[in-house]
């Protein structure tokens, strides 16, 4: 009975949260009003692997490494961050150019390092 009750409450709630996260790209708003986007780095992928940002809107990226040291490099947005193993790095960015960009891990992290990237779309 207990399990059923939890399931009845939890699953719809998680589903709603999941839909919200899907549409917001995993972001939430801090008290200072800057949207914060959580990104996880783990060999050999970023999660989420695609973000959509708005041109001219400032956001804070919180990038967390779940294993080894990673990089987060994107020349057009002047991003060149280091995410030490198990730690979180924050960077504030205001994209000024619309387009599709591909940040990469530029800290060599293993055999498939060359394929560790994600997509940022600036609208």
């Amino acid at each position: 009975m207990y399990r059923v009750t939890i399931s009845r409450i939890a699953f719809p709630t998680l589903a709603i949260l999941g839909v919200l996260l899907l549409f917001t790209g995993g972001r939430r708003v801090y008290a200072d009003g800057i949207p914060v986007i959580e990104i996880t780095a783990k060999r050999f992928a970023f999660s989420p692997d695609k973000l959509t940002l708005k041109k001219g809107q400032t956001v804070k990226l919180r990038i967390h490494s779940e294993d080894v040291t990673h990089g987060f490099f994107l020349r057009p947005l002047k991003l060149d961050e280091e995410i030490p193993a198990g730690q979180t790095t924050e960077v504030v960015v205001t994209p000024q150019t619309a387009g599709t960009f591909m940040p990469i891990c530029d800290h060599f992290c293993g055999a498939n390092h060359g394929n560790m990237n994600m997509t940022i779309v600036v609208e």
Partner: protein, 332 residues
């Protein structure tokens, strides 16, 4: 002495090699007159008089790699060794521009790969082999194992009046040279006149070739600022698994093809980089020949080159296509 005389001091020419690049360095004019005086002056600076010679660049053997882009392992590397040894003129030295081995987190396996690289490369009939690391050699341990096998990852030496500089842009795990190495480079070059012939060899490109494919060095501009006062600088690199030419002011950059698999032309691909597919009927496709020849006419810039890229295909084997041809003795 006019500017062209100075700039044409180091000429690079080549001949058929098969895989890799063969360069010849020789004075652009006779040793008489003003140019001859320049040779003497440079000889005093570098400790040696400039005389003709040739050398070979090889790159990206990735010993230990075995996967769909190239299931043949070290075959192309071994083939390159055979072809170098069959050259009519023995090269004075071989420069290997990184990714000698493929990375692994198992140290003992990486040790075996480095040993295998040494076993193959020591068959090259050349008195000197010089290497720099690639990120697959040095990225996971900051170059510790590489240095155990090959010594310092950045250094310089003089050969027949040409100053060679090995730069390491991989051992800090990120694509960078770093302030310590930059300071060393400035000090290393300080004794040379601006006309000195300088060959820099490194793994990654020192300019933004394709940053989202990690084809760049983040402090490459700082390196170029150190190099830019010199009239005769050639940069040889690997990493991109394809040939490429680029000029930064008077500095000329040349990438060598790999000895494992090729990447496509970055100008034709919008997304992530993917290796070109292995072609079993043409197993050395895109790993082939670069013919480099001096065109004989002094031109502005550091070097004056005529380059012809030729795929290493069945032409080398006279009518027998496919992987089976690799089982035959090389016909060079």
């Amino acid at each position: 002495m006019n500017q062209n005389d100075r700039r044409s001091f180091l000429k690079i020419a080549g001949s058929s090699l098969g895989i890799g690049v063969l360069y010849s360095a020789f004075p652009a004019a006779s040793s008489a007159g003003e140019v001859g005086s320049l040779f003497s002056a440079l000889g005093k600076s570098s400790g040696e008089r400039v005389t003709p010679f040739s050398f070979v660049q090889l790159s990206d053997a990735h010993v230990g790699f075995n996967g769909p882009p190239d299931p043949l392992g070290t075959k192309a590397f071994e083939r390159a060794v055979d072809m170098i040894n069959a050259l009519p003129q023995r090269p004075d030295l071989v420069l290997f521009t990184g990714d000698l081995t493929h990375d692994t987190e198992d140290r003992q396996v990486h040790v075996q790969r480095m040993k295998q690289f040494q076993e193959i490369s020591k068959k090259i009939n050349a008195p000197m082999i010089k290497c720099v690391p690639g990120e697959h050699d040095a990225g996971l341990d900051n170059g510790a194992l590489y240095r155990e096998f090959f010594g310092e990852s950045y250094y310089s030496f003089d050969h027949r009046g040409v100053h060679f500089v090995a730069l390491d842009n991989v051992s800090r795990a990120k694509p960078e040279v770093g302030t310590e190495q930059l300071a060393w480079l400035k000090k290393d070059l300080a004794r040379f006149p601006k006309t000195a012939p300088i060959v820099v060899f490194t793994h990654r490109p020192l300019f933004d070739l394709r940053p989202d494919w990690e084809w760049f060095t983040s402090d490459g501009d700082d390196v170029m600022n150190v190099l830019s006062p010199y009239d005769n600088v050639t940069v040889l690199y690997g990493h991109i698994h394809r040939d490429d030419e680029h000029a930064t002011g008077a500095v000329h950059h040349y990438a060598a093809r790999s000895l494992i698999f090729a990447f496509p032309d970055p100008n034709g691909v919008a997304g992530p980089r993917k290796p070109l597919l292995f072609d079993k009927d043409h197993p050395f496709k895109n790993l082939g020949i670069r013919r480099v020849a001096f065109n004989g006419k002094p031109q502005p810039g550091a070097t004056s080159l005529s380059i012809e890229d030729v795929e290493l295909t069945a032409r080398e084997f006279r009518g027998i296509n496919g992987v089976q041809q690799l089982l035959r003795s090389p016909q060079v």
